[in-house]
C-alpha cells in the first residue's frame, strides 16, 4: 500500500511544481519601480488600460530605488520606472538601459511635528529648513536606503549629518515606514508629496512645514522630483521583453495615459499626486 | 549422522579492532537444542547474531546446510532464522499487529493459526492491547509468539527468561519444551541459569572471554565437565 502511495505522491508533486511555474497565456512585462511610486496607487489605476491595449500583464515589483536599478542591471526587470535622475543617467550611460524618457514629476516636502521645534515654517529654501533642524538638533528621520528620496535628501544638506549625532536617524526603510516613524516620534522627515498625501489620514501628528499645500506653492525648485522610465537593454540578458517594454514606454508617455496620470488623486486629495511631463505631453500642451 | 545444520570453523568476530568471539569448531545439528552458557561479555549474543546472519564473521567460515553463508546474506536465508532477545522489542501497536509483523514482512496474511499461537501463550485476551500497556512477562510472551508465528527453521533465544517471574518463565519454557518435543525446529538458547540449562539442553557450549572453551552432549557436560570454569558453572558457582 505504501508503495502505491509513494508512487502517487511524486507525480502529484511534479504536477504541482510545474503548475507553479507554468507560463501564463498573457505576455508578461516586468516593471521594477520604487515603493513610493507603487504605494501611491497610481500604477494600479492606470495599468489596466495597458493590459487591455496590449493583452499583456504588468508584474510590478516594488522595491527601493537601488534595488530597482539593480534589477534592471541584472536583467530581472524589463523596464524600470524610478526617480533618481543622476543614477538613471548613469544606468543608460553604462549601457544597461536603452534610453531614458520623462514621465511625470511631483515634489518633496518637509513634514514634521506641529510644534515645529526647529521653526522651519516660513523659511525660503529647503536647505535653510534642514540647516535649522541641524542647529536645533531636532530629530530628523532619514530614509537612509539609497532611494531617490534619500538621494534628494542628501543633496539638500550643506553639511552631511551623521547618525552619531543622535538627532539624525537613518532608518533604512521605505517611505511609508519612515513617515510612520516620524509621526510616532515627532521627527521631521523629507517625503514625496504623493506618499504623504496617500497616508495623511494615518499620520495625525505630522503636518507640512515646508513645501506648501500643493506643488504650485512649493517655494524651492530643488525639491522638484522627476520620474524617468527606461527599458532595459535586451542585448545583455536572455529573456528580456524588449518589444513589450518599448510599447510600455510609448504607452506611458502617450498623451492619453499622461492625462490619466494627471487626473489621479484629484478626487481624493483635491490635487493630483503626479504631474504629467512626458515629451509628447509637453508638445501637446505647450 | 547427517551433515550439521550449522558448521563454524575458526570463526572470529571483531568489534572496533577487538576480538570478541573465537570459535575453533562448533556444529549445530538439525532439530537439536543447543544451550550456550558463559558469563557476561563472553560473546554469546555475538554468536547468536552470527547464527541469525545479522553480522558477518571477520574470519573463518560459517556454513549453513553445508553451504558457505555470504555477506550480506540473502534475505530468503535470513528469514529462515529468527531471534527472541532478552528485552522484547515490540512495536507501538497492538499485540496482534506485533505478532503478525514477521508474517506481514514475508507477505503472508495472519490467520487462525496466529490465534491458536496466542492462545497457547495465554495471550488471547490481550490481542487488542497496545504493546505499551503490557507487563514485562506479557511482552516477552508476545515476542515469543511473534517469533513462532513465522515458523522458523531455527529459533535463537538470548536469555529469554532472565527478566521473568516464575509464571511467565514457565509459560516460555513450556513452549520451548513443546518445540523440542515436536522436533521441527532447531533451537539455540543462551542462558546463565544452570538449572534452565539442565532442563533444556541436548548439547551445551560454553563461552568464556569470547572463546569456546567446552562443547559437549548435555550428560557429558554436566557430569564430566573438563574445563575448570565449566565445572564451576555446573556446580552453580558464579563464573567471572
Amino acid at each position: 500500500m505504501s508503495k502505491a502511495l509513494n508512487a502517487m505522491i511524486l507525480p502529484m508533486l511534479a504536477v504541482l511544481l510545474l503548475a507553479a511555474c507554468a507560463p501564463a497565456e498573457l505576455a508578461v512585462l516586468r516593471l521594477a519601480t520604487t515603493t513610493s511610486t507603487a504605494d501611491s496607487g497610481l500604477l494600479q489605476a492606470i495599468l489596466p488600460s495597458f493590459k487591455e491595449a496590449f493583452n499583456a500583464r504588468v508584474d510590478v515589483v516594488a522595491v527601493g530605488t537601488g534595488q530597482a536599478i539593480e534589477l534592471g542591471q541584472n536583467g530581472d526587470a524589463d523596464v524600470i520606472l524610478v526617480h533618481a535622475r543622476a543614477r538613471e543617467d548613469e544606468f543608460v550611460a553604462a549601457g544597461y538601459g536603452l534610453a531614458r524618457s520623462d514621465v511625470m514629476y511631483n515634489d518633496y516636502l518637509v513634514v514634521g511635528p506641529q510644534a515645529d521645534p526647529a521653526g522651519i515654517q516660513g523659511l525660503a529654501t529647503a536647505a535653510e529648513a534642514v540647516a535649522a533642524i541641524a542647529v536645533a538638533k531636532a530629530p530628523f528621520a532619514s530614509r537612509g536606503d539609497d532611494s531617490g528620496t534619500h538621494t534628494k535628501e542628501l543633496s539638500i544638506w550643506t553639511l552631511e549629518p551623521s547618525p552619531d549625532q543622535g538627532w539624525y536617524l537613518s532608518l533604512g526603510q521605505g517611505m511609508g515606514e519612515t513617515l510612520q516613524f516620524a509621526n510616532e516620534s515627532g521627527a521631521y522627515t523629507l517625503a514625496d508629496r504623493g506618499t504623504y498625501l496617500a497616508q495623511r489620514e494615518n499620520l495625525p501628528d505630522l503636518i507640512i512645514l515646508f513645501g506648501g499645500e500643493s506643488i504650485a506653492e512649493n517655494p524651492d525648485a530643488k525639491l522638484y522630483n522627476p520620474y524617468g522610465v527606461i527599458p532595459v537593454n535586451p542585448e545583455l540578458h536572455e529573456g528580456i521583453q524588449a518589444e513589450l517594454a518599448q510599447q510600455f514606454v510609448e504607452w506611458l508617455t502617450s498623451v492619453e495615459t499622461q492625462e490619466q496620470i494627471g487626473a489621479y488623486g484629484v478626487d481624493r486629495y483635491g490635487q493630483p499626486l503626479f504631474y504629467p511631463d512626458s515629451e509628447p505631453y509637453r508638445q501637446a500642451h505647450p | 549422522m547427517s551433515a550439521p545444520l550449522y558448521e563454524l570453523r575458526q570463526v572470529e568476530a571483531s568489534y572496533r579492532g577487538r576480538r570478541i568471539l573465537e570459535v575453533d569448531q562448533l556444529a549445530v545439528q538439525q532439530g537439536e537444542t543447543l544451550v550456550v552458557v558463559g558469563p557476561n561479555g563472553a560473546g554469546k549474543s555475538t554468536l547468536l547474531r552470527l547464527l541469525n546472519f545479522l553480522e558477518p564473521a571477520s574470519g573463518g567460515t560459517l556454513h549453513f546446510q553445508a553451504e558457505p553463508v555470504p555477506h550480506p546474506a540473502p534475505i530468503e536465508l535470513r528469514r529462515r532464522v529468527t531471534t527472541v532477545f532478552q528485552r522484547p522489542a515490540l512495536l507501538n501497536r497492538t499485540v496482534w499487529d506485533n505478532v503478525a509483523y514477521g508474517l506481514r514482512v514475508r507477505g503472508r496474511a495472519p490467520g487462525e493459526r496466529l490465534r491458536g499461537l496466542l492462545r497457547s501463550l495465554d495471550l488471547e485476551g490481550l490481542a487488542d492491547a497496545r504493546a505499551g500497556s503490557l507487563s514485562g512477562g506479557e511482552a516477552q510472551r508476545a515476542a515469543l509468539a511473534r517469533a513462532l508465528a513465522v515458523e522458523p527453521e531455527v529459533l535463537l533465544l538470548d536469555e529469554p527468561t532472565a527478566n521473568l517471574d516464575p509464571y511467565n518463565l514457565s509459560v516460555v519454557e513450556g513452549m520451548i519444551q513443546q518445540l523440542r518435543a515436536e522436533g521441527s525446529c532447531t533451537l539455540v538458547v543462551v542462558t546463565h541459569n544452570v538449572f534452565q540449562a539442565r532442563r533444556l539442553a541436548d548439547r551445551v557450549a560454553m563461552l568464556h572471554g569470547g572463546r569456546l572453551i567446552e562443547a559437549a552432549e548435555a550428560a557429558a557436560f554436566f557430569d564430566h565437565p573438563r574445563d575448570p570454569r565449566a565445572a564451576a558453572f555446573v556446580r552453580g558457582e558464579l563464573v567471572a
Binding site: M1, S2, L5, I9, L10, L13, L16, L17, A20, C21, P23, T35, D39, Q44, D59, V60, V61, A62, V63, Q73, N74, G75, D76, G174, G176, E177, L179, Q180, A198, Q199, N202, L203, H237, E238, G239, I240 | R49, N52, L54, I75, R78, R79, V81, T82, T83, F85, R87, A89, L91, N92, R93, T94, D97, Y101, G102, V105, R106, R146, V150, L156
Partner: protein, 225 residues
C-alpha cells in the same frame, strides 16, 4: 489592496490560496526529501557524518532572508539558473521555502529516529525485515517525532517574509502571500488591514497544526497503526 475596494474579498481569497499553494508544495517537497535523508543520517555511519550533522544543525538556524538572497542570485537572469524564468513567480518562493524547511525536517527526523530503541532495529532485522521494511517500521515508531519535524518546517515558512519578498517581489495577483501582504499593509499605514491579514495567517497556521496533531495521535492507515 484597500479595504473599501469591491474586489477585496477576491483579492484576499487569491492571497490565501497562493499562500496555501506555495507553502503546501514547499512543505511536501521538504518532507519527501527530508524524511528519507533524516532516516539515512540516523541509520548510517560514514566518514564525515559528524560534519554533515553540524551542517544540518546550522541549516536549522539559517536566516531565511539569507536563503532568499541566495535563491534570488541563483534565479536572476544574470545568475546560473536564470533561464528557468522562475524569479518573481510562485516557483521561486516555493524553492526558497523548501530550502528553509529542509534542514528542520532532516535534523528533527534524524534525532527523532536516533531516539528509537536501537535494539528494535536488530530485532526487526532478526524478524526478516529488509532495509525498506525496517526503515518504515522505525519511522512508524518515531512517527510523533517525524511529524513534529514537519510541523517545525511548516512553522519556519508559513510566516516567513524576507525571502518571500526578495524572490517573489510581492506582485499583486501573482506572488502576494499573506506575510508579504501584511508588510505592504503596514508600510502603507493600513494597520487594521495588516492585523486582519495577520489574524487570518494565524488561523490558517492553527488549523494546519490541528491536522498535524491528529496525524500524531490518530494516524490514518497509511501512516502506520
Amino acid at each position: 489592496m484597500q479595504l473599501a475596494a469591491p474586489s477585496f474579498l477576491a483579492d484576499l481569497a487569491e492571497i490565501v490560496l497562493l499562500t496555501i499553494r506555495v507553502t503546501g508544495v514547499a512543505l511536501a517537497a521538504a518532507t519527501l526529501l527530508g524524511v528519507p535523508v533524516g532516516a539515512l543520517m540516523a541509520f548510517s555511519r560514514f566518514p564525515g557524518r559528524r560534519l554533515l550533522v553540524a551542517v544540518i544543525y546550522t541549516g536549522m538556524g539559517l536566516p531565511p532572508v539569507v536563503v532568499g538572497l541566495v535563491v534570488y542570485l541563483a534565479l536572476s537572469r544574470s545568475g546560473p539558473l536564470g533561464t528557468l524564468g522562475w524569479l518573481f513567480t510562485p516557483a521561486a518562493m516555493t524553492v526558497a521555502q523548501t530550502v528553509i524547511a529542509l534542514p528542520l525536517v532532516i535534523g528533527l527526523t534524524m534525532t527523532g529516529l536516533e531516539a528509537v530503541d536501537p535494539q528494535l532495529r536488530l530485532q526487526l532485522r532478526a524478524l526478516g525485515a529488509d532495509r525498506r521494511q525496517e526503515s518504515w517500521a522505525m519511522l512508524g515508531e518515531a512517527r510523533s517525532a517525524v511529524i513534529a519535524a514537519v510541523v517545525a518546517g511548516f512553522g519556519g515558512i508559513i510566516s516567513e517574509v524576507g525571502a518571500a519578498m526578495l524572490v517573489g517581489g510581492n506582485i499583486e495577483g501573482q506572488t502576494r502571500v499573506l506575510s508579504t501582504a501584511i508588510v505592504l499593509g503596514t508600510r502603507m499605514g493600513e494597520y487594521s488591514l495588516a492585523l486582519a491579514l495577520g489574524g487570518i495567517l494565524l488561523a490558517l497556521a492553527f488549523l494546519v497544526n490541528i491536522v498535524f496533531i491528529r496525524l500524531q495521535h490518530r494516524p490514518p492507515w497509511w501512516l502506520g497503526r
